[in-house]
């Protein structure tokens, strides 16, 4: 099963990679980062270091989000065009298909985010304006962003099994926004807190993976937190993948 899943993963990775838009987008981001950095001194009004870290970590998240959305395009298209059926006709289980897709798009997202992260690290360490440069906090933020992106991919996997491309993308973005709000709303003193308190166990709690502001402000994040937050992300992804599998098995294609 694992070999089958890896085959599907490789195929999903290549398929998403074949789309030149992603590569061009990464290139544009890399060039824009370097180009804009030259202007930071003028437009940032003395916060070059903070701005670079904020924008760099933001770009990594954005690339992760866009990479995750590749899932929303792949599965509905394959199901609509019946290309997935040819795979199921072979001795490939649906579980291999889903796990393979999840792994393939995750690899793609990690690769893309890694490229942007390397670019940011290069700029952070190549200029005296950027203060303390690359820090362990940056690495922590990157790792949590990766885990959060895998969760987003798992969500997109689940919704793209039943919805069309456009609606899947829209719903994935809405869930990303809501997932970032649940923590704050559930702890706020508004009337929504009790509702959000329930939803935070259903929706992904992306706020647990968002330590970008804390990193830019040089606030410390403990190792136990990193372990538990990563554990949460992995458990959430496995839960959604198994739920997708249970539902997908019952689906009449």
């Amino acid at each position: 099963m694992l070999n089958d899943a890896m085959t599907i993963a490789g195929d999903a990775f290549r398929d998403a990679n074949r789309r030149k838009g992603v590569v061009y987008f990464l290139l544009i981001i890399a060039i824009a980062q370097v180009a804009v950095f030259a202007l930071y001194g003028e437009i940032s009004l003395g916060i070059e270091d903070k701005l670079l870290k904020d924008v760099g970590l933001g770009m990594i998240s954005l690339v992760g989000l866009l990479s995750a959305l590749a899932m929303a395009f792949q599965i509905p298209r394959e199901l609509r065009e019946k290309t997935a059926m040819t795979l199921f006709a072979k001795p490939l289980g649906r579980e291999s298909y889903l796990v393979g897709k999840l792994m393939g798009i995750s690899f793609l997202a990690i690769r893309n985010m890694g490229i942007v992260a390397l670019g940011v690290i290069f700029i952070l360490n190549s200029n005296e304006l950027t203060g303390d440069g690359f820090t362990s906090g940056f690495l922590q933020s990157f790792l949590l962003t990766v885990v959060g992106t895998i969760d987003l991919i798992a969500i997109t996997l689940l919704i793209s099994l039943y919805l069309t491309e456009g609606i899947s993308v829209l719903l994935a973005i809405i869930l990303t926004i809501l997932g970032n709000l649940t923590f704050a709303i559930s702890h706020s003193e508004t009337g929504l807190s009790s509702v959000a308190g329930i939803f935070k166990y259903i929706l992904p709690n992306f706020y647990l993976f968002d330590i970008k502001s804390e990193v830019a402000a040089s606030l410390n994040t403990s190792v136990p937190y990193m372990l538990f937050a990563s554990g949460y992300g992995i458990a959430y992804a496995i839960m959604l993948a198994s739920l997708s599998l249970i539902l997908f098995r019952k689906r009449d294609l």
Binding site: G58, Y201, A217, Y225, S242
Partner: protein
Amino acid sequence: MKSNVVAIIVFLSSLMLMIFFQQQSERLRMEDRAKDVGVSYLKRDKMPTAGFDAVAADLIWMRTNLRRQPKLRQDISREEKKEFLTREAKRDYIGYSKVVSLDPTFKRAYNFAILRLMSELPDQAINLAEMAMIYLRSDTKEFSELAGHIASTVKKDYKSALGFYENCVAGGPSKEYLGRRYLRTLLRIEGINPYEKNLENQAKQIIAYNLANKGLMTGMEGMGEFGDMGEGAEGAEGMDQMDFGDIQAESWIQPILLTEIRNFLGRTSLEKHSLSKKKIDEVKNIYKSFAPKGYACQRCYIEYSAGDHFCYQCGLNLKSYGVCTKDGCDSVLKGHFCHTCGTKAPKGFVPPAKVTAPATPL
């Protein structure tokens, strides 16, 4: 069927793990933040930025700062001008509020906003300073100082200002000017203008009174005892009940008090003020306890150097020391013999320490 059961077991176990990890993560994150910026950092109301809070804060900050403001026409009345400036400040305040709610640790934004808003919207500027004190704990002094300055100079709310200055000096030594501001604010609360010269005497007494009354000068360790500072300031009359018995502690306030009283004593004689002999003696006693241990002017207690014949502050004729005793020579002695006439130095004269020559020629 069997594989479905496995999937369901995996689903349920990962669900339980997920709930456990989420609760633990939330707890740990709150503990982490409680150590530096406080839990309210996590609980603040958030805008739907999908995790791009910091980037959004940067963009709004730049937009607010780089916003092209409409030109102020010169032919308008003072009221219209004020209205215009307030309207523009309010517009900027909205921007800055968004910035610091998105990124509460954005120090530069607080600085810019407070300085921008302090004239037109002092209340909002103080609110921002208070927010900065919560989220930027290592910069509490800086923002307390700003808030105190706005409260005292713009709002004329001296009680609030005193509270902010207490924050400034709390927990250890502060810049001397902050201590002075603190004392001046204290006087303002007593209804005394510290810059008004005819009330100077009274002001100084109240400074001394308050300091002594609050135990600042006796064994003070830090400014932790400032909590009840507002009470007990009874004005000049309080001097009668004052007890300056044990004025000896080293503290940040000592040099300030010393300078304050020295300036006062130096500018004019105490006797010229309409004070009772007892009060004059009390003020003198305060000063004496801090006075230099070497040769000092008997009127203003300024320490003077060898060879000085008159006080450089009050002009009092001094008893000079460290000079050659031969008539007409008057050279300042450097050793056991006068370097001008060779006369032996008087008994008990201690020559100044020799200056060691540098190892290499300068």
